[in-house]
């Protein structure tokens, strides 16, 4: 165990080399996650959140490639590891949960097979003790009659139950970090609340850090310790959750917060950020948000440097809100 943060992503760039050109899906993104900490990674659809998560696990498929940056996990730069060593970390020390629980479990394999293989991929335990750990993990995520459930197939479960199973699989090896890629988006609101609550509880109990990817700021408000905002593949700003929500400095974060319905006045039309997300293919230098930004000046055609306006807060903008 090293003294630094659990995960430090530094200047990460992940590009797709397509026939139409280079898509800079992640372009210079940095953040840290401390041990047992919950970081919310926020941004609109297509802003590169999932690709950031996949980069950390080394799961980027061609034509995509991590072209630059360091991903330091517990003192080791993952990008320098050979594939076998990286595989030893996946599902063992860093686990991931996906957005759509209907798609993440293999439809033709029983639940016990899918959990046991995750255990046995990382330790030479017998099938019996792997099964015992699988059972324990199911109980932890609130699944009743786990023995019966272990012998079932995914199609015999509802969406919420499947997501619980996926979470159980993520937890089963006792990881230090879980990357949760919008795990509640596909579920209805009551189930969303339950899963969110249980996830938070389980992680706090076991001291597991969470990188919670979402486009929903209201989820982050109740869950995260820190927030990192992305726009069009680029880092926008980061800081403690209360600071960012109360006093966003970047015009984009401000727009995001203002468009959360609960914060609007009743009876007023919903506010939204004008304009559209730019195409990542044609994106040149400079602030990608400037076309939609009311504070933009000609200076924004250059890329602003990341500054530290106050301790623990980082920002990439020439014209922070006051």
């Amino acid at each position: 165990m090293s003294g630094g943060p659990l995960l430090q992503v530094d200047g990460l760039r992940m590009h797709f080399f397509t026939k139409a050109g280079v898509v800079k899906a992640v372009d210079d993104v940095s953040f840290t996650v401390g041990r047992g900490e919950i970081l919310g990674l926020v941004g609109e659809s297509g802003s590169g959140k999932s690709m950031t998560g996949y980069s950390i696990l080394g799961l980027v498929d061609p034509p995509g490639r991590v072209v630059e940056g360091r991903i330091v996990f517990d003192g080791t730069d993952l990008t320098r590891l050979d594939p076998a060593a990286w595989r030893g970390i996946r599902g063992n020390r860093i686990a991931m949960i996906f957005q759509d629980p209907m798609m993440t479990l293999n439809p033709v394999l029983r639940i016990d097979t899918q959990i046991v293989e995750a255990v046995q991929a990382h330790s030479g335990v017998s099938r019996e003790s792997a099964l015992a750990r699988a059972r324990e993990a199911l109980v932890r995520v609130g699944i009743a009659s786990p023995d019966e459930r272990l012998r079932a197939y995914p199609h015999q479960f509802s969406g919420g139950m499947r997501q619980r199973v996926a979470i159980a699989i993520a937890l089963v090896n006792g990881p230090d970090l879980i990357i949760a890629d919008e795990p509640t988006t596909a579920l209805d609101v009551t189930i969303q609340g339950q899963i969110l609550f249980e996830m938070q509880k389980v992680c706090r109990e076991s001291g597991t850090a969470l990188l919670w990817i979402t486009h929903d700021l209201s989820v982050v408000a109740g869950l995260a310790d820190k927030v990192c905002v992305m726009y069009a593949g680029r880092f926008v700003e980061s800081g403690p959750v209360a600071d960012i929500l109360d006093r966003p400095l970047h015009p984009y974060s401000r727009g995001l917060i203002d468009s959360v319905p609960a914060r609007n006045e009743r009876g007023q039309p919903l506010r939204q950020i004008p304009g559209m997300t730019p195409s990542l293919l044609s994106l040149g230098p400079g602030c990608p948000f400037r076309e939609r930004c009311s504070s933009a000046t000609p200076r924004c055609a250059e890329s602003p440097e990341v500054t530290e306006p106050s301790p623990g807060r980082r920002l990439r903008c020439f014209h922070p809100a006051r």
Binding site: Y54, L57, L59, R87, G88, I89, R90, G91, N92, A95, M96, F98, D100, M103, T104, L105, N106, P107, V108, L109, R110, E117, A118, A121, H122, Y153, H155, Q156, S158, A166, I169
Partner: protein
Amino acid sequence: MLAYAIRRFGQSVFVLVLMSFLVFIGVYAIGDPIELLVNPQADEVERVRAAAALGLDRPFLAQYWVFLKGAASGDLGRSFVYNEPALTLILDKLPATIELAFVAMVMAIGLGIPLGLLAGLKPDSFIGRAIMAGSILGFSLPTFWVGLVLIMVFSVQLGWLPSNGRGETMMVAGLPVSFLTADGLAHLAMPAVNLALFKLSLLIRLTRAGTREAVLQDYVKFARAKGLSQGRVIGVHVLKNILIPIVTVIGLELGSVIAFAIVTESIFAWPGSGKLLIDSINQLDRPVIVAYLLVIVTLFIVINFVVDVLYSLLDPRVRLGGAAASH
């Protein structure tokens, strides 16, 4: 499961009766077998006597009724030409065809699935493209042409392989088979390759398409995120899913490979049932034609049943008999 089997059996009997009726009409429409069977110089009395002996003097529906009654007790009639039970004639020849078809299918499966997986996992690599190019050739070259080229190269020019017959056979469970003797294998090699080529190409394409689709699925990414080895991700998570359509197609193709081995059998003079069918059609030997088609349809039905059972074993979402999944 039992109810399902009974229902399937009922459907099958219906298909068989309908089929035999259609074939009866078909052969009846083509011409009068008496013309071919009786010496052209024979007089009218002789003709009438021959027709009566074969039951061909009766009205069409009466003839069909006689056939149905016989079929119900397992008698599919006697060949007009050989004056032997049609079923015996066919069952004599069928094992050779089935052996050829099975060996061809095993070759197609054993090569097709691994090559298709490889091409699906590395679609842009040289090897992936080469496999696809090969499968296009296998698809588009006509079977008889490939057969002739094989004979020209391996029998005529190189003299490595015999060009006709079954070679030395060995008795297994009362049936002669070629694949257990060296000479038999040498005889089997070219016809089997010839027959397998098209199916091989089909399986390569099917497996490749399935693989390309499966590797994009979330469950594959999730399996990798669990830290599973590449071998387990491909061999279990991908393969088990793509096997579902592949098994279906293999089942269907197995039937058609038996039914349509005719071209290959003719080229390599393989003594199977295909040649018997061609001869019988030429001579309007109706009992043999009908019996042959009934046997083939029965084979199809049995294979389809086996495929359905396999399918339900592979895919937990499918339950035979259509019982809904519990929640």
